[in-house]
């Protein structure tokens, strides 16, 4: 507050003086008001479309909201969504299993592949070549996901798909697999397509991390007689730990993969690729009463698992000293 203990009666504009000092003091507390003006549009949009849905989704998970049943928006039903999900839903656990399988099929392979490629690229001296490899590796990531997956559908086609034609006519395989139509092959096929699409992103992240490691460490290790492989094991990998954390945190959402199953096989054949993400989508937007509440409950479960995995990663990979 303005210090008024020495105020003198002033013939000219006491009130104005006081007002000015008051405003100045208040402005000091709030700072630059333009700041609020500058962030307001961004914040508004963010609050409406990002923040609100999180809370609404949280609430929705405990209601029996069915879009086709008017008035059910706030029909609280406690934890009965979860009760139904775990005990009364014949598709939930199979779908959950499929999602887990899918994750186990793609994520470790993704990590290893992208790390290997990143290490290779980082060793290339010629910067033009290295740049080209980077562009190529990241290219599938740039493609719209529907384009990438539909392209693989074409490749997997049993009549004119490139794979089967090569297998049949070049390698003489009598009956090549029905990649997307055989329940045993479907999920791995989808996983491979998803892997192709996604691994470039991790490659680039690893590269960023590797480029950030100063050359002097490697030089010192070289002088001490460490071979290339040992250098990778003892220097590169430990120093890449923050990148590992980032990648795992960013990729943990693969448990909820939806597009791959939706676009390539729509859950078939015989529900072999009905991942949990797709099942949720179907429940919410395709079948029956459009049970947004139930779907939100399943989605919340996935979200919690995602956060749990991220949290575990943080704990395990962060607290160890290098």
């Amino acid at each position: 507050m303005a210090d008024l203990s020495h105020a003198q009666p002033d013939r000219t504009g006491t009130l104005r003086q006081f007002a000015r000092e008051y405003r100045a003091a208040r402005r000091q507390r709030w700072g630059n008001l333009w700041g609020y003006a500058f962030i307001a549009p961004a914040l508004t949009l963010y609050l409406i479309f990002n923040v609100w849905p999180i809370f609404r989704g949280l609430a929705m998970a405990f209601t029996d909201y069915r879009y086709l049943v008017p008035g059910s928006e706030w029909a609280w039903n406690g934890a009965s969504n979860y009760q139904e999900m775990f005990t009364n839903d014949s598709q939930f656990w199979p779908s959950f299993g499929i999602s887990v399988q899918y994750t186990l099929m793609s994520f470790p392979t993704n990590l290893i592949l992208s790390l290997a490629v990143a290490l290779l690229i980082s060793r290339i001296r010629n910067s033009f070549l290295a740049g080209t490899y980077r562009v190529i590796a990241y290219l599938p990531v740039i493609l719209p996901i529907s384009v990438a997956l539909l392209l693989w559908n074409q490749l997997y086609n049993t009549q004119f798909g490139y794979f089967n034609l090569i297998l049949q006519n070049v390698f003489g395989v009598q009956s090549p697999p029905n990649w997307l139509g055989d329940p045993g092959w479907a999920l791995p096929s989808v996983a491979v397509a998803g892997l192709w699409k996604d691994f470039g992103a991790n490659t680039l992240l690893f590269l960023v991390g590797i480029y950030g490691i100063s050359r002097e460490i490697y030089e010192a290790a070289s002088i001490d007689g460490a071979g290339a492989l040992q250098q990778i094991w003892s220097i590169t990998l430990p120093l890449l730990r923050p990148i590992f954390v980032l990648i795992i945190v960013l990729n943990a959402g693969i448990l909820g993969a939806t597009e791959q199953a939706l676009i390539m096989t729509n859950g078939g054949p015989q529900n072999a690729t009905l991942t949990l993400g797709l099942y949720i989508y179907q429940q919410a937007f395709q079948f029956g009463d459009l049970r947004l509440g139930y779907a939100a409950a399943m989605s919340l479960l996935l979200g919690l698992i995602h956060m749990g995995l991220a949290g575990i990663t943080f704990r395990v990979l962060r607290t160890e000293r290098i």
Binding site: W34, A61, A296
Partner: protein
């Protein structure tokens, strides 16, 4: 020996001198990997230039021997929805990029250079939700958009996509934090208001960051599938990312018929490939043209995290 060399790689190369053999091996491995990565695309490109005779040969070659533009002609002449979908995609993509760049620059600048109460708290709040996965997911969004009458509208999509501001604001704030203060101070001393400072100082200096934000936003929006699929069910407003499914199959997605039906004697899987490639082209072009900024943007974003 030169005292200072900016090309540190060369000096340390001389110090380490790995055998040339290793370089060749690495290059070969990477060439093979690149080929494997690119095979689907190469196959698609060559198929799109093949006529029906070549397409259905027993042993497909990766190079068309009788290239033809028939597939592309078919695409442009017979598929009425195709230009509609592409236009929608462009509108949504450019609209979103414009809005995101504008909003994130303003906010990023404010967070970097202005002092106001609660500034850091609000910033953390903005970034934090990046790590909180959407628990209600699309369901809550669906309800919200329906309530706001923003479903089935391009404007709705633009607003929705533009709300993903955590990363853009982060990037812009980083950009402005590393900007020298002299120009702004000079402008302020000369009596410029904050809006003028922004317009004449912050915007020109922040262009690099804005390009990075623009690239990531464009590519992300162009390729979005699930959100668009949920929000739009009228054919008129579909983007190419969702619409291409309709163009390829006969309406329902079935693994057994994924590919093309013979709608006329000219529609083949070559046409499908032409469609797929053209749909992806804008994103790919933007990426390759501005590739330098991609890596830089990622580097700055991640190493500063």
């Amino acid at each position: 020996m030169c005292a200072v060399s900016l090309d540190s790689s060369r000096t340390s190369q001389r110090a380490l001198r790995p055998p040339k053999f290793a370089q060749i091996t690495f290059n070969l491995l990477l060439l093979a990997t690149s080929f494997v990565i690119l095979v689907p695309l190469i196959w698609a490109i060559s198929s799109s230039f093949k006529g029906p005779d070549e397409l259905y040969q027993a042993v497909p070659s990766l190079i068309p021997f009788q290239p033809t533009l028939a597939n592309y002609e078919y695409m442009f002449e017979h598929l009425a929805s195709f230009p509609i979908y592409m236009t929608n995609s462009f509108i949504v993509a450019f609209g979103t990029v414009f809005l995101v760049v504008l909003l994130s620059s303003l906010a990023g600048y404010a967070f970097a250079r202005m002092e106001f109460r609660g500034r850091d708290l609000i910033f953390v709040f903005l970034i934090l939700l990046l790590f909180v996965p959407r628990s209600g997911g699309l369901m809550a969004l669906y309800e919200l958009m329906a309530f706001l009458h923003l479903r089935n509208s391009l404007v709705g999509l633009i607003l929705l996509f533009s709300a993903g501001l955590s990363t853009p604001v982060f990037i812009m704030r980083q950009t402005y934090l590393s900007m020298p203060r002299e120009l702004e101070d000079a402008a302020r001393i000369d009596g410029a208001g904050w809006l003028d400072v922004f317009r004449y100082v912050a915007v020109p200096l922040g262009i690099a960051g804005m390009v990075v934000v623009a690239i990531f936003t464009f590519v992300g929006v162009w390729g979005d599938f699930l959100v668009t699929l949920t929000m739009i069910d009228q054919d008129r407003w579909l983007t190419i990312s969702v619409g291409i499914r309709k163009l390829l199959t006969t309406g329902t997605v079935s693994p057994f018929f994924a590919g093309s039906q013979f709608t006329g004697k000219f529609a083949t899987y070559g046409t499908d490939c032409a469609l797929l490639l053209t749909s992806a082209l804008p994103a790919v072009v933007i990426y390759i043209a501005l590739q330098r900024w991609f890596v830089r943007g990622l580097t700055e974003g991640i190493l500063k995290l």
